[in-house]
C-alpha cells in the first residue's frame, strides 16, 4: 500500500485545495429509542456472550416498526435546522434557503422514490431545490457532504443539507447482526455562519468486493475477514494519509479524529496504525453504544465531537463505504460554535444514555419485521 501512496503523491499535491470558507453551519442527529443487548443476540443463536466484548459493542439501537431511515433523516434534519436558531442574529436559517438535500442510505424505504424529497417536504424546503438519494454502502452520507460543499463553493446554492441515515440490515444469525444499528446525522453546509470550516477533503476509491446487497435481496452479504485489511483498513488509511499529505499536516495537529466505525475495535486499530492516540478517537466513538449506524456512523461520530469542541480545535473525519471508498475531511472549529442556540440542546451521548428502552430478541425481530406475518 505504501507503494501506491507514493506513486500518487504528485497527483494529490497538484489537486486543488477546497477551502473557500465552506463549512458546517449546523448539525443534528437521531437515534431510535429501542435497544437490544449484543448478549441477547448471541444467546438466541447459541453463541458465547463474550462476542460483544470482542467486537467492542455492548448494545445496538433498533428502529421501531413505524420508523425507517427516512423518519430518522427527517428528525435529524429538523434538529439541524433548530440548531441554526442562534445564527443570523437570532433569526436562524430559513429552510427555503436550502438549495440541495442529499440522503445517503443503504436502507431506503423505497427502492424508487426519493427519501430526500420526503425530507425536503417535512422541513418545508420545497419546491425550489435539488434533491437526491445517494448510495455508497456506509459512506453515502459523506459523499452528500462533498456534493453540498461543491455546490456551495461554486455559488450555485447558499445552503446544502447532507444526511447519513440507516436502519442497518443484517440477516438473522449473521455476524453483522451483532453490530447493525440504527441512527442518522444531518449537516447543513454553507459559507455563512459556519461553526466549523471544512478546510479540505480527499477521497480514496477502488473496486473492492467486501460487502454488497444485490437488487431485491433483503439482506447484505459480506466477505468475512476480507472486510478488514484489503477493505476497511486500506481505504481508511489511504484517505487519511492522503489528506494529511494534501494539507501538509500530521496526526499531532488534530484534537479529534473520527473514523467509520463498523465495530468498536476497528477505529482504534486504524487510529493506532496511523499514529493517532486513543484519546483523539474516544469522543467520536459511538458504535459501542448504538451499533454501526452504517451511512450515519462516521457522521454521528462527528456530531459527538462537535458537541464538545472548542474554537480552534482541528478535527479529521474519515468515512468508509464498502465496495470501496473513504472520504476524508479536515475541519477547524470556529467561534460561531460558542454562540447561544448554535448546537442541539441535548448532547448526543446524553441523549443515547437517557433515551432508551430494551427489547429482547423476539421484540427486535417483530419491530424489524423479521417474523413472517401476513398483513
Amino acid at each position: 500500500m505504501a507503494k501506491i501512496m507514493k506513486s500518487d503523491a504528485s497527483v494529490r499535491s497538484a489537486s486543488p485545495v477546497i477551502n473557500a470558507g465552506v463549512g458546517i453551519v449546523s448539525y443534528g442527529y437521531f437515534v431510535p429509542r429501542l435497544r437490544i443487548k449484543v448478549s441477547d443476540i448471541a444467546a438466541t443463536w447459541g453463541k458465547d456472550a463474550s462476542v460483544g466484548e470482542s467486537l467492542g459493542v455492548k448494545e445496538k439501537a433498533v428502529g421501531a416498526w413505524d420508523e425507517d431511515s427516512c423518519t430518522f433523516a427527517v428528525e435529524a434534519s429538523r434538529m439541524a435546522l433548530k440548531a441554526t436558531a442562534g445564527a443570523n442574529g437570532g433569526s436562524g436559517i430559513n429552510p427555503q434557503e436550502i438549495g440541495a438535500i442529499y440522503v445517503g442510505s443503504e436502507s431506503k424505504p423505497y427502492a424508487v422514490k426519493p427519501s430526500a424529497a420526503i425530507v425536503a417536504e417535512a422541513i418545508q424546503a420545497t419546491p425550489s431545490l435539488t434533491a437526491a438519494d445517494l448510495e455508497f454502502a456506509c459512506k453515502a452520507g459523506t459523499a452528500g457532504m462533498q456534493m453540498a460543499m461543491g455546490l456551495v463553493s461554486s455559488g450555485m446554492i447558499n445552503y446544502g443539507l447532507a444526511i447519513g441515515s440507516d436502519t442497518a440490515q443484517a440477516q438473522p444469525g449473521d455476524a453483522l447482526e451483532y453490530t447493525a444499528g440504527s441512527g442518522a446525522a444531518a449537516f447543513i453546509i454553507g459559507k455563512k455562519n459556519v461553526i466549523a470550516t471544512i478546510d479540505d477533503t480527499y477521497s480514496f476509491t477502488t473496486d473492492t468486493p467486501d460487502f454488497w446487497r444485490r437488487q431485491h435481496a433483503e439482506f447484505p452479504q459480506h466477505a468475512g475477514r476480507f472486510t478488514g485489511e484489503p477493505a476497511y483498513f486500506k481505504h481508511v488509511q489511504g484517505a487519511t494519509q492522503g489528506i494529511l499529505e494534501k494539507t501538509g499536516t500530521t496526526t499531532k495537529d488534530y484534537d479529534y479524529v473520527v473514523f467509520h466505525q463498523p465495530n468498536g475495535k476497528f477505529p482504534l486499530r486504524v487510529a493506532k496504525s496511523l499514529g493517532f492516540g486513543d484519546e483523539a478517537v474516544k469522543q467520536g466513538l459511538i458504535t459501542p453504544f448504538i451499533g454501526n449506524t452504517y451511512s450515519a456512523a462516521s457522521m454521528i461520530g462527528l456530531v459527538s465531537v462537535l458537541d464538545v469542541a472548542k474554537p480552534g480545535d482541528k478535527i479529521l473525519l474519515c468515512s468508509y463505504g464498502s465496495g470501496s471508498g473513504s472520504d476524508a475531511f479536515v475541519l477547524t472549529v470556529q467561534d460561531e460554535i460558542t454562540k447561544p442556540n448554535r448546537r442541539p440542546s441535548v448532547k448526543l451521548l446524553d441523549y443515547i444514555a437517557k433515551n432508551k428502552k430494551y427489547v429482547d430478541y423476539a421484540g427486535y425481530a417483530k419491530h424489524r419485521k423479521k417474523i413472517k406475518h401476513i398483513e
Partner: protein
C-alpha cells in the same frame, strides 16, 4: 383500513408539518385545515398557519384491541393533545414510558410512519407525539 393515494398526498402538509388554518377575523387557529371558519362563517378570512409542535396530553386511552392493520403497534396510546396554542388534536403517543403517559404531560411531535399499503405499496408518514 388504508386511504387512497390521492388522499394521502392531500394530507401531507397537515401530517408532516401540522399546517392548519388561522382566521384573521376571530384570531382562532384550526387543525386540521378548514375551508370555512366555523366561527365567522362567510365573514372569516382563513390563511394557512403552522401549529406548534409541542403541547400536553389532554386525555388518553390505551387501545388493547387495535383494528386491522395495527397488529404491530397494539397496544398503543391514543391521546387528545392540546397544542401550545390550545388547539386539540387526536394522535398516537409513542416512545414513552407507561408511567409517563399522564394527563398534563408535555409532549412533542415526531415524524413516523402512520400506515403502509402492504409490503410493496405506498408508505404514509405523519405525526405521532412522544412525552418529553
Amino acid at each position: 383500513m388504508t386511504e387512497g393515494i390521492a388522499r394521502i398526498w392531500r394530507n401531507q402538509r397537515d401530517r408532516y408539518n401540522l399546517i392548519g388554518t388561522h382566521c384573521e377575523e376571530c384570531k382562532n387557529d384550526f387543525f386540521p385545515q378548514r375551508k370555512i371558519c366555523p366561527v365567522c362563517r362567510r365573514k372569516g378570512k382563513l390563511k394557512e398557519k403552522q401549529m406548534p409542535t409541542t403541547g400536553k396530553i389532554y386525555s388518553f386511552t390505551l387501545v388493547t384491541g387495535g383494528p386491522v392493520g395495527f397488529d404491530y403497534e397494539t397496544p398503543y396510546y391514543l391521546a387528545i393533545v392540546e397544542l401550545d396554542n390550545k388547539v386539540k388534536i387526536l394522535t398516537q403517543i409513542v416512545d414513552s414510558d407507561d408511567d409517563k403517559v399522564k394527563i398534563g404531560q408535555p409532549v412533542k411531535a415526531m415524524f413516523r410512519r402512520i400506515q403502509t399499503h402492504g409490503e410493496e405499496g405506498l408508505i404514509a408518514y405523519g405525526y405521532k407525539f412522544k412525552v418529553v
